[in-house]
């Protein structure tokens, strides 16, 4: 096992930490945070796989993919936050509620 594998495995764990939080938390800011952690995990995994040949120069194709991915993830974050603001302005809530919860609250 090399040091690169360490980062690759960290990427895997980060992804599942993020996924778990994304599914479990109802607050929308938390969901966006979790999504960003998931993204970081995927990026680490991709770049880790890109340089799994010991001693060789890393594969530039996944690097380019991750570079564009980071810029896309910030635009995703911003768009998600704009949607969150709209939801909050309309409903006064920043977390997801199901129909069932709404009737419970009444």
């Amino acid at each position: 096992m090399s040091q690169v594998t360490l980062y690759t495995l960290t990427g895997v764990i980060l992804f599942f930490m993020g996924l778990r939080a994304f599914l479990l938390y109802a607050h929308l800011v938390r969901k966006i945070l979790a999504f960003n952690v998931m993204g970081s995990g995927i990026f680490l995994l991709l770049v880790g796989i890109a340089s799994r040949v010991p001693g060789a120069a890393p594969d530039p194709v996944p690097h380019a993919l991750v570079l564009t991915g980071i810029v896309v993830s910030v635009s995703f974050t911003a768009f998600g936050l704009v949607l969150l603001r709209r939801i909050y302005a309309k409903t006064g809530k920043a977390h997801i509620t199901t129909e069932m919860e709404d009737t419970d609250a009444q």
């Binding site: 096992m1 040091q3 690169v4 594998t5 360490l6 980062y7 690759t8 495995l9 960290t10 895997v12 764990i13 980060l14 992804f15 599942f16 930490m17 993020g18 778990r20 939080a21 599914l23 938390y25 800011v29 966006i32 945070l33 979790a34 960003n36 970081s40 995994l45 770049v47 796989i49 340089s51 040949v53 060789a56 120069a57 890393p58 594969d59 530039p60 194709v61 690097h63 380019a64 991750v66 570079l67 564009t68 980071i70 810029v71 896309v72 993830s73 910030v74 635009s75 974050t77 911003a78 936050l81 704009v82 949607l83 603001r85 302005a89 006064g92 809530k93 920043a94 419970d104 609250a105």
Partner: protein, 337 residues
């Protein structure tokens, strides 16, 4: 030496996992976002350890800087949310959710273990892409492999990616709240002269650095994405310090600069297609010039798109996030003693 490297990597990875865990389980959203910013900085450090300086540059500007600012503003915006008090139905609901939660945790652990096994099982073989890129570098028009992949070999991907960014900007502009007059007054507080002074000193340096990154992208880490991120960061600083007002930027200028990258990309692709080649198959003699043109246009576009994304998520006027959160954090710590 290798032991020290292992130690460093181990510490870095442990810190990443710890920060991710605590940012996801932190009760206070403000603290969670601060932890996220720290997480982004450590990610940037990890990229340099993985020999990916291009990604490290983008990550440091974007994850640690721009996303952090956007998230902090959003947390300030939703701070006044009234959570329903814990009632009996809440407890019933919690009990009902519990098996789902356990199931999800188990499922996530299972998949995580499977993926770890798959990663450890990967043969240490080249995917073959690396050697193809190296073989084609002669006709790329640039000497940096990553720039060559982004703007020449995989130009399609970048074209579509720029289109996604333009779509995000259009979405944000459409959905943002129309009345933002209150937001502008937020930072006009006493003592802002220091910030003004810093902005005056830093903005020229930021512009210089973005120009350098654009130039360096030809042969070294750098290029359109890092340049665009740096330009966007300069815009964030100007907007935050009230040196630039989003409402005062003419709409046509914003539209043109945000769509410049995509338009020029499409023009180049169309022009090449008309001249009988396949889409984005640059003539070898002009590849370098075309890439510089595209990089410049894409940088300007990414910079202005980031400014649009920021303007759609303005700092909230009613609840200045930092002002309230910092004292409350400290008083509770002292009081809890």
């Amino acid at each position: 030496m290798s032991t020290i490297a292992w130690l460093f990597d181990g510490l870095l990875v442990a810190a990443l996992l710890y920060l991710a865990w605590s940012l996801l389980s932190e009760q206070d959203l403000f603290k969670a976002v601060v932890l996220f910013i720290a997480f982004g900085l450590l990610m940037a450090l990890s990229w340099t350890r993985l020999q990916a300086p291009d990604i490290a540059l983008a990550e440091a500007v974007i994850s640690a800087g721009l996303s952090g600012v956007l998230l902090l503003d959003a947390v300030g915006y939703v701070q006044g949310e009234k959570r329903p008090a814990s009632t009996q139905s809440e407890a019933v609901k919690a009990r009902r959710i519990e098996p789902v939660r356990t199931g999800l945790n188990l499922l996530a652990l299972l998949f995580c273990a499977a993926l770890i096994w798959a990663v450890l099982d990967l043969p240490p073989l080249d995917s073959g892409l690396s050697s193809i890129v190296q073989a084609q570098m002669g006709s790329a028009g640039v000497t940096s492999q990553i720039t060559a992949v982004l703007l020449n070999f995989r130009g399609y991907d970048t074209l579509l990616e720029v289109a996604v960014l333009v779509l995000a900007a259009i979405g944000c502009l459409t959905l943002r709240e129309a009345d933002q007059s209150a937001a502008a007054a937020h930072l006009r507080e006493p003592g802002m002269q220091v910030l003004d002074g810093m902005i005056q000193l830093v903005i020229p340096v930021m512009l210089l650095v973005s120009g350098y990154l654009l130039w360096a992208g030809e042969h070294a880490p750098g290029g359109a994405f890092q340049t665009g991120a740096m330009l966007g960061a300069a815009g964030f600083l100007l907007l935050l310090g009230n040196r630039m007002h989003f409402q005062q930027i003419p709409g046509w200028l914003l539209r043109i600069s945000a769509s410049l990258g995509l338009s020029i990309f499409l023009l180049v692709a169309g022009g090449i297609a008309i001249s009988g080649r396949s889409l984005l198959e640059y003539p070898v003699s002009n590849a370098g010039k075309l890439i510089v043109l595209l990089e410049t246009a894409i940088s300007i576009s990414i910079g202005s798109i980031l400014i649009i994304l920021f303007a759609a998520n303005p700092p909230s006027a009613s609840s200045p996030t930092i002002d309230q959160a910092t004292p409350s954090e400290d008083t509770t710590e002292i009081g809890s003693k």
